[in-house]
Amino acid sequence: MPKTWRSHVLCAYAMAILAFLYLPLLILALYSFNESRINAVWSGFTFDWYLALFKNRRVLEALTNSLIVAFASTIVSTVLGTTAAIALNKYQYKYKSVINGLLYLPILIPEIVMGLSLLVLFSQAHIPLGKTSLILAHITFCVSFVVITVNARLEGMRPELEQAAMDLYATPFQTFRYVTLPLAMPGIVAGALMAFTLSIDDFIISFFVAGPNSTTLPLYIYAMVKRGISPEINALSTLLMLATIILVIIAQLLQPQHISKKEE
């Protein structure tokens, strides 16, 4: 008897936590279909705000900026992060743990410190603020996440596979191309998706290093809120949220532990 009573309480508690986490997001999404331009009253269902969104040139520009920055920084950070992870995994050298630590540092550093230091760096180095500086900044923090995900995948890989390939007269490049890379691929894709999501969502660092012609979606949403919240913002946030959720789910499915379990 007491067992079921306890599990009921636990269940209710878990539900309450979930509601606390997701209710605000649901309400935000709900009001994006509200006819009235005021968030306070519900007056009817409409898709108008989504339509208005796609006619709004500023929104489309912000979306384009976000996508350009996200794609560019994802590609560069995935290439850099993957090669770094492979090197870290394969070779033994001095100060390995230090270098490892340095790579993880951008994840631990408060974003605001990183944004500020990047801004100082760019202005000292006379790099004009704009898309270029934004992409450079995004690469900096995305690389760490790619290294971590790819590294996790590589660590679960048995070295015998590569050794077997070498035994069968594969050149180092062939080994890499036909054995290492395909095996690491799920980790690489997961890392790339992670980088893309982080870049699309980033506000704090972008806030510091954005310049002319590089207002991204999160920056635009923030500025719009200050001007008066319209359901257009709800619609925009809902779309951004959906895109993020889908990417995160794909990345989760590709996580090493998932795949290795299936393989075993």
């Binding site: 005021i38 968030n39 306070a40 500023r58 794609f71 560019a72 603020l129 704009g130 310049g211 012609n213």
Partner: protein
């Protein structure tokens, strides 16, 4: 092997195009000219900008900031090459002090003469050579006629007990303390500690009746009739009135704070000439008529009156009247005294 190589090349090519895109555009040589505008979100009619782009074969990059301090930080950091910025009144004063604004060549901006004369050389930019007023308005009392039968006339009316729990004040230390100073017949820039202390004492009396200190969602609260009376900017009052016709707005007899967002050119702007052309374009009577109808703020352009619709001209929220402008007082840079205001403000909001 081939597949991998071509994939790599495609990736690198994409990355280069992606990175280079920003550079090419901000360079502006050979290509159609570029104007980098740094402004508030949704602050200019997009159709007006498009017309300017077409007429001058240029591209306007419209980037946004959310508050004046953000704007200041971006310009101060250098590196951000904006051509036109939109600081508010007190920020113009700060930027002038820091030598961050280019002197405007008014010969290139003949339309600036169309601006109402008493807004041409405001207190924060006494020579009127570094900024031009764009949107402006005053802070007055907004109220709902359904609940408040007798129109307020004085700031003192906010202190009436029957409005308990229905009052909203702006979430801004200078605005709120300045309002209480005005109520007592002082300047809203008072440096006199006794005057400020007395004003804060009055505000502490009012505080228990206040529903919220709110700037961002104040319009919603008045439209939904959660709030009955409070302090509001003219532009916001006009917005609120469109959704709730019971809304009334008055400038109290003691006078009120007057404020403006401006156009200015930061030092070292790469396209100063085009920037001046843009500012001049914005004050063309027909253009400004169209633009202010879109953004719903008071049009400072005297020559535009004939092009405005009846609805805009008769918007009771936007009728300020010259006598009220003359009674208005700009918030100026109060220097060291700001710490005193900040301290009182914290006390007020934490209910000490």
């Amino acid at each position: 092997m081939k597949k991998l190589l071509s994939l790599l090349i495609a990736l690198v090519a994409f990355a280069i195009v992606g990175c280079g895109g920003g550079d090419k555009k901000s360079d502006g040589k050979g290509e159609p000219q570029v104007l980098n505008l740094f402004s508030w979100a949704d602050n200019i009619d997009p159709a007006v900008i498009e017309r300017f782009e077409k007429e001058n074969n240029c591209k306007v990059n419209y980037d946004v900031f959310a508050n004046n301090e953000e704007l200041l930080a971006k310009i101060q950091a250098g590196g951000a090459q904006y051509d036109v910025i939109q600081p508010s009144d007190y920020m113009v004063a700060t930027m002038l002090k820091l030598g961050m604004l280019e002197e405007l060549n008014l010969a290139n901006i003949p339309n600036a003469k169309n601006i109402v004369s008493n807004l041409q050389a405001p207190a924060y930019d006494p020579t009127g050579k570094h900024s031009v007023v764009y949107t402006w308005g005053m802070t007055g009392i907004v109220y709902n006629k359904k609940y408040i039968k007798e129109a307020p006339t004085s700031w003192n009316d906010l202190w009436k007990d029957e409005y308990k729990g229905r009052i909203i004040l702006l979430n801004d230390n200078r605005e709120v303390i300045g309002m209480a100073l005005k109520k007592n017949g002082h300047s809203n820039n008072s440096l006199n500690p006794q005057e400020v202390e007395a004003a804060v004492k009055d505000l502490k009396q009012l505080a228990p009746n206040v529903l919220a200190f709110d700037t961002d969602t104040i319009k919603q609260k008045f439209i939904a009739e959660e709030a009955w009376i409070g302090t509001m900017w003219t532009g916001d009052a006009s917005y609120t009135y469109k959704d709730n016709k019971d809304i009334g707005f008055v400038i109290p007899k003691e006078g009120a704070t007057i404020w403006a967002d401006t156009f200015a050119i930061p030092k070292g702007a790469p396209h100063k000439e085009l920037a001046e052309k843009f500012i001049n374009f914005m004050y063309d009577p027909k253009v400004s008529a169209q633009n202010y109808e879109y953004i719903g703020y008071n049009d400072p352009n005297e020559k535009a009156a004939e092009f405005h619709s009846e609805e805009f001209k008769n918007d009771p929220m936007l009728k300020i009247g010259r006598e009220n402008i003359d009674k208005g007082e700009w918030l100026t840079d109060i220097g060291e005294a700001l710490t005193m205001y900040d301290r009182y403000w914290t006390e007020l909001k934490t209910g000490k």
